[in-house]
Structure formats: C-alpha cells, structure tokens
C-alpha cells in the first residue's frame, strides 16, 4: 500500500514563491529559491551520495560525500550546503568526484566493523548503501589501526526500553544530535570530545540514555544512517518487508505513521514525513508504545454474566448480542424508552462513533448519547460556537510557524501533545515570544533555548479573571484593533463587552487577589499579546475543566477578536485536544442535543433529513448528559448503558458517585480492549479492536480527517461498527453497512461540513480538514478568513464567578490534575507497555514549604483528602508548584485521583471541574478505604474473568 522508505531529499524543503532554474547533469530543473543543490538533484531524480544530510535537518556539510562540480566554481563544494543559483551548471558524477567519494568512504569504513550480514541495520543502512553507490571495493588503510570498534569499543547502551545505542557503529555524522535539537528541541544529546575522540553522548551527567534528558521521541533513531541507534524490535525481528500508512491512536495531534510490518506483525512505527499533523516527527507513545495492541490482557471473546458479582462467562457473538438486546428491551418495556442510552468514545473512529450514536437515536429511540468529550473539551464546542460560529479550533498546526506571540494557557504541550510541543518550541527558538499562564512551572516556562517572557502563575480557578484583566488592559490602553472589530464583529455586542471589561473591577490590580499574580506582569503580557504581531492562543483542559470552562473559552475568543487575531495564519484559538478523536467524536453527533455537524435535535429541517435517511422518527428533545445519566441511574429512572471504549469508572470525577450509579444499573455493555475499571460493573463485554485492526478515520485537533488503516485482521473476528449494527438489529432497527467507507459516505451525505469527504479522496490526498464542501472543496486549514462562520463575531460578557469549591481551614490546599509524557489518560494502553518505566506510579507534587509545614519529605506516603474522599499517594516535593497548590496525574487506577475530585461542573456543558479541588494532605502509612476496596474488587471480578476466559 505504501512504499517502505520515503524519498530523502537531503535538505529541508524551502517555501518561497520565487523559483530558480539551473542545469544538473545536462537537465534543467526549477526549484524554490534557497533550495540546496542536493535537493534539486534529488527532485530531478538524480540523488547524490550523502551521509550527514537528511531532509528533516538543516544541512551540516561534514561528511564530504555529496561533493559536486559547479561551472565557474573552484574545487568541489558540498551540494547540501550550496544553495541553487539561476543558471548554475552542476555535475554530480565525474571521475574526480567518484575518486574523492570512494576515498572518503574508505576512511569511514576503515573505522567501521564489517559485520554487515549480522548487523541489525542490514538492508536498511545508509552507510552500506552509500558504500555501494560509490563503488567501494577495498580499504587500503586496513582495519587494524586505532578504531572505535572491536575491543576498544564503548559498551552498547541498552538502557532505553525501545532502542539501543551502539557506539562502535557510529560515524559521528551528528544527525542524532541535530535531530534532538532541531526536530525534538530537547537538546539531550551532544558530541563529546574532539577529533578522533568525538562521540555521541546523552549528556555529561548521565550514564546512559534512560537516565538522561532524552524523551525517547525516536527522532535520533530515525535520523541515524547506521545501526548505531536502532529500534530493539528491528534487532529482534529484522527489517520490515511492507508498510501501511495509518494514524496514531493516542493524543489529539493525530500523527501519521507508517506501520512497518513483517506479515501481520508490526516491527516498528515510523512517523510519516508527508503527514500533515506531524511532518515526520513522533513522541514516545506513538512511536514506541503500541505493544498494548497485542498484550496478553486483551480480551478477544465476548462475555456475559447475569449479575456483576458473578464470574464472566465466554459467549458467542450472537449470544452476547442477543443477551444485551434482550436486557435493553426488557428495561425499556418496564421503565420507558428513555431508561437506556450510551457513551461514545473519542478513541474510536468517526465511523464507529457515528454508528453508536445512530444506534442510540434510531434503535434505542432516544437522544441519551454523550461522549467522553463531555469531561474534556465540551466547553470548547460551546464557547467557540457561541462566539465564532463553529465548534472547532481555528488553525492548522503549521500555523504556529507564523506566530509571533504564543499564549499557552492551561496546557502542557511538551507532555500532553509532544509532537506539537516540539513544533511550538522550534518557532520559539526562531524568536516567537511566549506567555505561559499556568499554576505550575511547566517545561515550556524554561527549557533549553526556550523561555517564557511572562509566566503568570495564576491560582487554579481564576482563568476568567485573568482573561478579563488582559482584556481590560487591551481596551483601556487603546490596543483594540478597531478596524477589524468594526468590519467583522457585532458592534452592539462589542460595545457592551468593551464597557464591561473596562470597568475598574476588571483591572489587573483589582483582580490581583483572585488571580494571585503580579498585576504589572499581567499588563505587560496583555500589551505583548495585543501588539507583538501575530498572536496565537493554545489551550488545553486547564481552560475547559472548570466551573467557568465555557466562559473562559468565550473570554479567549473575545480577546482574540478584539486584537484582530482570528482569520489568518499565525493567529487563532487552538484547543489542544486530549484524545485522538475528540474532535471527531463531537463532529459525529455524539452530544445528546446535536446531530452530526453540531445541529440541534430540535431543528426540524435537520431532524427530518435524518428521519428520512434512517427511516425512523427521531426525538426532538435533548437527551441525558453523562453526569445526568449517573444522577438518573441513582434515582432508578436510567438503567441500561452502552459504553464504547471508555473507562468512566476511572476517568470521571467523584468515583464513589460513579460507582454507585454503575452498580444501580440493570445492564451495562462495555466495548473495550481490556476489562477496564468500568467492566467490573458490566453485564456484557464486547471485545474491541485496537487501532491496528481498524478501518476508518480519526479527526485531530486541527479538524484534519486522517485515515486509519488495518494492518492486521480483527483479533475479535469482527469490526466494532459491525457489532453495533448487529446490536441495533437485535433491538429491532435494521442497520447495515458493507464497509467503513460506506459509513463515511452516509456521514458525508448528511453533514454539510463533510460533504466532500470520502475514503477515496482521503486515500488520494492524504488528509482533509473540514469543512470540505462546495465553498471549500479542498478543505479549510484556516477558519474564519474574511468572515466568521456565524457571520459577525459575537463578543460575550464574561463575568468572573469563582467556583463554589473553596479552600477552608480543613481543606487549605487546591488540588489540580494533569498528565505526563510517557502515560496516556487512564493508562489502559501505556501501562501495558515499557512506558511505565518512566512513570511507574502517580505522585502528588507539592511545594517545599507546604511539604515542610506538614513534615513531609520526598517519597513519603501521604493521604490526600477532599470533601469527597481520600487516597494515599507518594509525595514529590517540587518547586514547579506554587505554594498552596498540589498536583497529580490519574494514569493508574489504584491512585484513585477521581475519588477526590468533586461534582462541580461547567455551567454550560457540565464538563467536570477536575482542576480545582480543596484538599488537605497528611502523612499516612496505609492505603485509603477506597483503595483497599478496589484491591478487593480486583480480586473478585477480575480474577474470575481471567480464569473463566482462559478455559
């Protein structure tokens, strides 16, 4: 399907409109100004031998293998560092060049072990290939002189779980060091020593890669032309024989990867250069942590049980589907049509999500469908739709390359969206200025060659106050882009907003007590944002997961509109989505009040379109949201739930409440890869498929629809969407598709913003960014150009209303939650990989003063208690935290971070307030009652399941 190796043009592509024409080996070629001779020759189809050059890195000119002759130029310049000139005449192959190249190669090989046949890179080694290209036939210097291989070699470094470093094979081309700097931006690697002693080192203070600053993104491995840095999976299995282009199933960046295969076994995942979201870069999760797909914990047989205290019983697909349908129908007969519903998953494909919401609306006959975006980015949808007219981010990722000022708020891209984080850091190294608003000192605040000009260490819960303060400065200091506002925005709404934010109570000084930051820094940040050129806002769940999440999204839109920062490249409001298909699951009509394309169920025209196509009558009333479902379950009016690929028992707030709701239900169907925490309360388990088995599409944070292609057959024997269709049929609604492509055809038929989308087009064009319709046949990388989707931009008044969750003498600290690079969400995937070696347990980060006050030292076990519950965790004393604020992750179920979080939620969307919980922390020497209970639960439901399934 895809070629195994992408063409390497040697140096990066130049993006200028001016072209230059030159002659290479007698053939004319036109390329953008600034292109290297090397790249021009490769584009002509006449590549030049090279070793230190690769097109993901700037030219370096050290290996001297790519020398060429240029008419009128003395000597033999390196083609990688020589830019093209108009009329230049280049010769890439002459007797002199041949002699020089062969001589250089002889020198390289005289210090390289000749174990090619048993080498891990055999068949995939640029040194080997280049030796072949230059016709190396002998090494006149012999192999006996001083060398870096053999007995004198430095030991192989196997510390990283995914790749090995063998210094004996290094040719010191610096490609790994440069990849770490230029692509990843971590600067973990260096060349240590000089001359013959030069060698690659993972930092002077570290013994090995694992102990170094290395974040295991894989860029160095990809850049290495030899077997020096190589995937352990390639060492173990050999080089791949075919590849399939697909999309990563971790975060909302949605990186394109080539799954490189032997038969139906994945050997490695390599980021695709042509991938619009990642352009050839990757992170430790997408690149390496795919082993969960074939983990022994995966359940591949359907299972049923009468009561959740019973052991699981393996069943055929027919039996399990009939069992589920029978129970759901019985519940509806007894308790009414609205007594069941379901939750779609942001980890599943658009097509899988679409069929689940269709099953609920058409077969269940109600709108009780919600999606896990409820608990992450639902405020983004509400806030951006209200102000701008569409529920999505405004830019593509590439846009950051044109940003002059970057405001990061409530996001930690280097951990949670690492590939985009690298792209942002690259722009920052080029000179863009950075404002970070975050209670924690995240890595972006200060890391190699990147620093935030302003770090506003605001108090959790004060986002809206900060935005109003920034807007106050913009309005009162005359920094509004009046022309832009007059042309593009509703002026009545603007005037009201201007008056509101100009009030003295919204000044940085008046709000300083709420924000907890220096008002002067706020003023400077506002001035920088408004006057520093193209200003772009990037945000994450630190914005949305608050009681004022939607208000905050609107406040950011207000600020961007007021300063003219929406509607072109380099600016905008950019939500960094948590999961791979958050955008897609929302687009697909997963919310209880909306059909696909964000159209309200009460809209007659839309509803009749669906009714006609689906052949059923549909409800015009909104259904239950996830938190409402739990409440209704506890009062007994809601008794059946279909859960697609989500672990609500771990990921949703106030775990005890969620558990009580789940326990109260008569039938829970879980469709997942693993028996997750929620499955402990389920009656039917439908085994799911991993992304390596799926055929479909994911839509990333930049609205980019990417293809997900199966590299192996379903381990369960059936596609997830087919299982859902069968359940719908068993419920009495005839739902049938021949393929995932057919589902997308239906989506396109019924959704104006997807009108031009089809698998055939995606296969031909790589990806498309919606809207793809008659007005934008090739998609829409940047939204709101010239005009907002809603017509006039709408300023909303964003009064700061503090959360009801307050600190007190009993609960004096604020807990906020987040993620870490190596783990992903509830950890169901990453905990089943070697990634856990970087993060074996969740910890509570705490400022040294707060720790000292409680007599706590690093590593002590502590009990963290809120008004909701308590858990025990180890403490990590950290100056990244401000005083009074503590922080933890929720990647491990036993940590139970959500036992502590509250029921408070966003006013508009009920997105939970994960980011603000009042807590107390004290030393402890035992797990909490809840943790003990969970351990017992594992001993019952889980153990039985495993025993039964194995029989």
């Amino acid at each position: 399907m895809t070629m195994l190796k992408e063409t390497d043009f040697g140096t990066p592509k130049r993006e200028t409109e001016k072209t230059v024409t030159l002659v290479i080996d007698g053939k004319p070629v036109s390329v953008p100004e600034g292109t290297s001779v090397m790249r021009a020759a490769t584009e002509l189809g006449q590549p030049i031998p090279k070793l230190c050059a690769t097109d993901m890195l700037d030219a370096w000119g050290s290996c001297r293998m790519c020398l060429v002759e240029i008419e009128g130029v003395k000597g033999t310049p390196a083609s990688c560092t020589t830019p093209v000139r108009e009329g230049m005449v280049v010769r890439t192959q002459t007797q002199r060049l041949e002699r020089i190249r062969r001589g250089i190669m002889e020198l390289y090989i005289s210090d390289h072990p000749l174990d090619c046949l048993t080498c891990g890179a055999n068949g995939d080694c640029e040194l080997q290939d280049t030796a072949g290209e230059v016709g190396l036939r002998e090494v006149r210097y012999g192999m006996e002189g001083e060398s870096h291989f053999g007995p004198a070699a430095d030991a192989r470094d196997q510390s990283n779980p995914y790749f090995s470093f063998e210094p004996a094979k290094c040719i010191v081309c610096s490609r790994c060091v440069r990849a770490c700097e230029q692509v990843q931006g971590t600067f973990a690697l260096t060349i240590q020593g000089r001359g013959f002693d030069s060698k690659v080192s993972a930092g002077a203070l570290a013994d090995n890669f694992f102990g170094s600053e290395c974040v295991s993104c894989g860029a160095c491995v990809q850049a290495c032309p030899t077997a020096t840095l190589i995937e352990k999976s390639v060492l173990e299995h050999g080089t791949p024989s075919r590849s399939v282009l697909t999309t990563c199933a971790y975060c909302g960046v949605g990186c394109s990867f080539r799954a490189e295969m032997q038969g139906d076994q994945v050997v490695r995942m390599v980021p695709e250069k042509a991938g619009g979201a990642n352009e050839g870069h990757s992170c430790v999760k997408g690149r390496f942590a795919w082993g969960y797909a074939t983990h022994k914990d995966r359940v591949t047989t359907p299972m049923v049980r009468d009561r959740i205290t019973d052991p699981w019983r393996p069943a055929s697909w027919d039996e399990a589907i009939q069992f589920a349908a029978g129970r759901f129908k019985a519940i509806q007969e007894k308790h009414g049509k609205g007594s069941i519903g379901g939750i779609t998953s942001s980890r599943c494909t658009n097509e899988e999500v679409y069929v689940v919401q269709k099953m609920i609306r058409a077969a269940f006959g109600n709108n009780n469908v919600d999606t896990c975006a409820r608990v992450c980015h639902s405020p983004t949808g509400y806030g951006l739709k209200t102000t701008l007219g569409t529920s999505a981010g405004t830019q593509n990722f590439k846009s950051v390359e044109k940003a002059d000022v970057i405001l990061v708020i409530g996001a930690n891209p280097t951990d949670a969206h690492p590939v985009f984080g690298s792209r942002m850091k690259k722009r920052l190294r080029e000179g863009a200025r950075l404002i970070v608003a975050d209670p924690r000192r995240i890595d972006l605040v200060r890391s190699p060659h990147v620093h935030a000009e302003h770090h506003i260490q605001l108090r959790p819960g004060s986002n809206v106050a900060l935005m109003n303060a920034l807007a106050h400065v913009v309005v009162t200091e005359g920094l509004v882009d009046e022309t832009y506002v007059a042309e593009r925005c509703d002026t009545v709404e603007f005037d009201r907003w201007r008056k509101f934010v100009a009030e003295e109570r919204n000044s940085p000084e008046a709000l300083a007590g709420s924000i907890g930051a220096d008002p002067e820094a706020v003023r400077k940040a506002a001035r920088l944002y408004a006057t520093g050129g193209n200003a772009a806002i990037y945000y994450g769940l630190g914005v949305t997961e608050h009681s004022q999440g939607s208000t905050m999204v609107m406040a950011m839109a207000n600020l961007a509109m007021a300063t003219g920062n929406i509607g072109r490249e380099g600016v905008g409001i950019n939500p960094l989505r948590g999961q791979n298909n958050v955008q897609g699951s929302c687009d697909m009509g997963s919310f209880p009040h909306e059909f696909t394309g964000y159209r309200h169920v009460s809209d007659e025209a839309t509803r009749s379109l669906f009714e006609k196509d689906w052949g059923v009558t549909l409800s015009a009333e909104p259904g239950l949201r996830i938190p409402n479902m739990f409440a209704a379950a506890i009062d007994g009016s809601y008794r059946g739930l279909f859960v697609q690929g989500e672990d609500i028992a771990q990921s949703d707030p106030n775990t005890r409440h969620v558990q009580a709701a789940l326990e109260a239900m008569d039938c829970i169907v879980v469709q997942d890869l693993f028996l997750n925490e929620t499955a402990a309360y389920a009656h039917v388990f439908f085994p799911g498929t991993s992304f390596l088995e799926k055929d479909g599409t994911f839509t990333n944070a930049e609205r980019r629809i990417n293809r997900v292609r199966p590299v192996m057959t379903e381990k369960t024997g059936v596609a997830e969407w087919e299982v859902v269709c069968r359940l719908a049929r068993a419920m009495g609604y005839d739902m049938h598709y021949d393929s995932a492509a057919g589902i997308m055809d239906e989506i396109a038929r019924l959704t104006p913003t997807f009108k031009g989308v089809s698998f055939a087009r995606l296969d031909a064009e790589g990806s498309l960014q919606w809207p793809v319709n008659d007005a934008a046949p090739n998609g829409t990388p940047t939204m709101h150009i010239g005009k907002f989707v809603r017509g006039k931009g709408r300023f909303m008044i964003t009064e700061f209303v503090p959360t009801e969750e307050r600190t007190s003498r009993s609960f004096p600290l604020i807990l906020t939650t987040g993620r870490i690079l190596s783990q992903y969400n509830v950890g169901a995937q990453t905990r089943r990989t070697e990634n856990s070696r970087w993060h074996e347990r969740d910890e509570l980060e705490m400022h040294p003063f707060d720790a000292e006050e409680r007599g706590l030292a690093d590593g002590d076990m502590i009990s963290i208690q809120s008004r909701m519950g308590a858990v025990t965790l180890p403490v990590k004393v950290s100056e990244r935290m401000p005083q009074g604020v503590v922080y933890t992750t929720f990647h491990h179920p036993l940590s139970g971070a959500n036992v502590i979080t509250t029921d408070y939620s966003d006013w508009a969307t009920n997105c939970p307030e994960y980011k603000v919980t009042a807590v107390q922390v004290a030393k402890s020497n035992q797990p909490s009652d809840w943790q003990r209970g969970l351990a017992e639960l594992h001993d019952t439901n889980y153990r039985r399941a495993v025993v039964e399934a194995a029989e």
């Binding site: 939607s550 009333e621 909104p622 409402n628 409440a631 009062d635 009016s637 209303v801 009801e804």
Partner: protein, 75 residues
C-alpha cells in the same frame, strides 16, 4: 433525576452567566439554554420544584424558570 439540588445549582450557574445582560436577555438566555440542553424529565422536575417554592434558586434563575414553557408530556 435524584437530587433536585443538583438542578438548582445548575440553574443558578446558568443565571450567573447571563446575569450581566439586560434582564430580558438574561431571561431569554437562561430559558433557551435550559430548553436546549436539559431533558424534558429534568425540566419537569425543576417545574415541580418551582411549584413547591423553588428553594435554593437565586432571584434571576427563579424569574427565568418561572417564564419557561412546560416540558412536553411523555418525553
């Protein structure tokens, strides 16, 4: 729905957001929001709570909710 206090809190929060607008817009904003996002059962439960005095509802929320049309029967 089990606990009407949860609905009361939600209604108060919605009214807090629309509160800074002129009163007619506040009322329209609150009622439209509840119509758009609350199920008929939730609206019905709130209507019953209102009929019983609407304890816990702050004045703006109370005023807006009192102007809401009843939820459709049987939904």
């Amino acid at each position: 729905m089990s606990d009407v206090s949860e609905l009361v809190r939600m209604a108060n929060q919605i009214a807090d957001f629309f509160g800074p607008y002129p009163e007619d817009e506040t009322i329209a904003g609150v009622t439209q929001h509840i119509r758009d996002f609350w199920t008929p059962a939730m609206r019905k439960q709130m209507a019953e709570h209102l009929a019983a005095g609407g304890a816990g509802l702050r004045p703006l929320a109370l005023k807006a909710l009192n102007q809401m049309q009843p939820a459709p029967a049987g939904a």
